[in-house]
């Protein structure tokens, strides 16, 4: 009894620690005054002003555009690469897999400044495209590392059987291989998306004047003293995350239900 009470209290305290700052942030996004400690009244005005703030709107636009574009390109390129690596001979395959781990293990700040050096030396104008390239670069390993395990589980006989039954290689790939590795591709895409939306450090070093994502905007605003508009943006983002998780969870439990029905 004592033990389980202790467990409950401990869990509660840890979750309080994790959620308190976020909850306070959300509550004060509805606060009438700019104060972040005194409650002066309920308002939606920050949510309206947020949409009028050009800096916030432009960084929201860049965050979403870059995350979507980078994760789509990384997913396509990464899936093709994973297939290629899978069909390689042992030694080059080991080299490629180790190479894939390199950006994952490398500290963000080093990845960021090394890409910055490259762009400066190549006289590549830093801005939207340099940031996009950087995002594709750090997204690629996550896609490959999610697709590779699915490829290893693949039953090669199924593909051969499809060819024997007269399917063209493309058709066999589309109808036999792709459906089997699709969950890995989807996981990779989601991971890439998350990493991209969350990234600050690499974006910070690879972007140019006028192009910043939300993280960079929060960083520059936080140093000057912050506006409740940012609280509003973050609350909306948080609501978005919860909504997305609920949808995914819903889909997954529906899929599970379907599988059980089949069994």
């Amino acid at each position: 009894m004592v033990k389980s009470a202790f467990k409950k209290i401990y869990t509660f305290l840890i979750f309080l620690f994790l959620y308190a700052p976020i909850i306070v942030l959300i509550i004060f996004s509805f606060n009438e005054s700019k104060s972040r400690a005194h409650w002066t009244g309920f308002t939606f005005k920050w949510y309206i002003e947020m949409f009028r703030d050009r800096q916030i709107m432009s960084s929201l636009y860049y965050t979403i555009t870059i995350a979507l574009t980078a994760s789509i390109i990384a997913t396509v390129l990464g899936t093709i690469a994973a297939l290629g690596i899978y069909y390689m001979k042992k030694t080059p395959r080991t080299i490629m897999i180790n190479l894939t781990y390199l950006p994952v293990l490398n500290p963000d700040i080093v990845t960021g400044i090394s890409l910055m050096l490259l762009f400066i030396l190549m006289k590549f104008q830093r801005g939207f495209f340099s940031m996009l390239i950087a995002h594709i670069t750090f997204n690629l390993p996550y896609v490959i590392l999610s697709v590779m395990p699915k490829l290893k589980q693949l039953d090669n006989y199924l593909y051969d059987a499809a060819l024997d039954l007269g399917a063209t290689p493309t058709y066999a790939f589309r109808k036999v291989v792709l459906p089997q590795i699709a969950p890995g591709i989807f996981t990779g895409f989601l991971l890439a998306m998350t990493m991209s939306i969350d990234d600050f450090v690499i974006s910070f070093f690879t972007t140019g004047p006028g192009v910043s994502n939300l993280a960079i905007t929060i960083y520059s605003m936080a140093r000057k003293g912050v506006s409740p508009k940012i609280n509003a943006v973050l609350s909306i983002m948080f609501a978005g995350v919860i909504l997305m998780l609920l949808i995914i969870n819903n889909r997954m439990s529906r899929d599970n239900g379907r599988k059980e029905n089949v069994v």
Binding site: F17, L105, P107, I218
Partner: protein
């Protein structure tokens, strides 16, 4: 059809955007450029070992170590509690644990800023009791708090994923053989969880050592960790050579500490056979 050719565009991409940039850092760390041309030099590395910069390294390693230890002490029991729950409760709790990680990490750090600032919520609440707090922001402890807050899930999740897989029969066997709960923990559970602990340590220590954001936002403009030092060299003082040398040393520290953690893991697995 040569299917392995499909990996080549990716290999080319990695060459241009990962290997060449890293090579650039290595090159810049050992050259100086002046009017006469490019010279080889070790001056940048010599500067890294000046006392003022060694102090920064020492402080970064110290703070990252303290944060990692706190994460381990707070996180291990949490992982055990999560692992002990029954299935339906478990998945809900784990999801609840991951959700804050989905919020931008800058946002999470910013949230602490608003809680801790001079007129922030914590100071105000405590102020009602008539106690005037000294500044809560911009101290070493605030930076550690920020690190623990941001990186705690990185410790809990790997430990949890190892603990869940431990065969309950092993624990029952130990109990049947007369082991007290404490001995079961010390001799069975803890050794079996070490792979999770060591990856948790790597996953907390690495970002804690290299961050420059947490130290800047919660530690203030004058709080310098390795990350801040590197950032300054590239964005403020434009001393690429010194910045590159610092980055090389940072990478070496990380490779060394990872090698250390991995070797420990392997030794233990080897020992487990006996």
């Amino acid at each position: 059809m040569k299917k392995h050719l499909m990996a080549y565009p990716y290999a080319l991409w990695m060459l241009i955007f990962t290997i060449i940039p890293l090579a650039l850092i290595l090159v810049y760390s050992v050259i100086t450029i002046d009017d006469a041309g490019i010279h080889f030099t070790l001056d940048h590395f010599r500067r890294v070992f000046e006392p003022i910069y060694l102090a920064v390294f020492w402080r970064s390693i110290k703070i990252a170590t303290i944060s990692t230890i706190i994460c381990l002490i707070l996180g291990y029991p949490m992982a055990m509690i999560l692992a002990s729950k029954n299935l339906s409760k478990k998945s809900i709790l784990v999801v609840l644990f991951v959700i804050p990680m989905w919020m931008n990490f800058l946002a999470r750090t910013y949230a602490w800023m608003t809680l801790l600032e001079r007129n922030g919520l914590i100071a105000t609440i405590i102020g009602y009791f008539g106690i005037q707090l000294p500044s809560l922001l911009y101290t070493e402890n605030t930076v550690i708090l920020g690190m623990v807050y941001n990186f705690l899930p990185f410790m809990v999740l790997p430990v949890y994923s190892v603990l869940v897989k431990i065969d309950k029969a092993v624990l029952e066997a130990a109990e049947d053989l007369g082991a007290t709960p404490f001995i079961v923990f010390r001799r069975v559970i803890f050794p079996l969880s070490l792979p999770g602990v060591s990856s948790g340590i790597i996953m907390v220590f690495m970002p804690a050592l290299t961050t420059f954001v947490i130290s800047r936002l919660l530690g203030g403009a004058h709080f310098t960790l390795i990350g801040n030092l590197i950032e300054q060299q590239f964005l403020t003082t434009m001393d690429w050579g010194f910045g590159s040398a610092l980055s090389v040393v940072l990478m070496l520290i990380i490779i060394l500490s990872m090698g250390f953690a991995m070797r420990y893991e392997k030794e233990n697995q080897g020992g487990g056979l006996w």
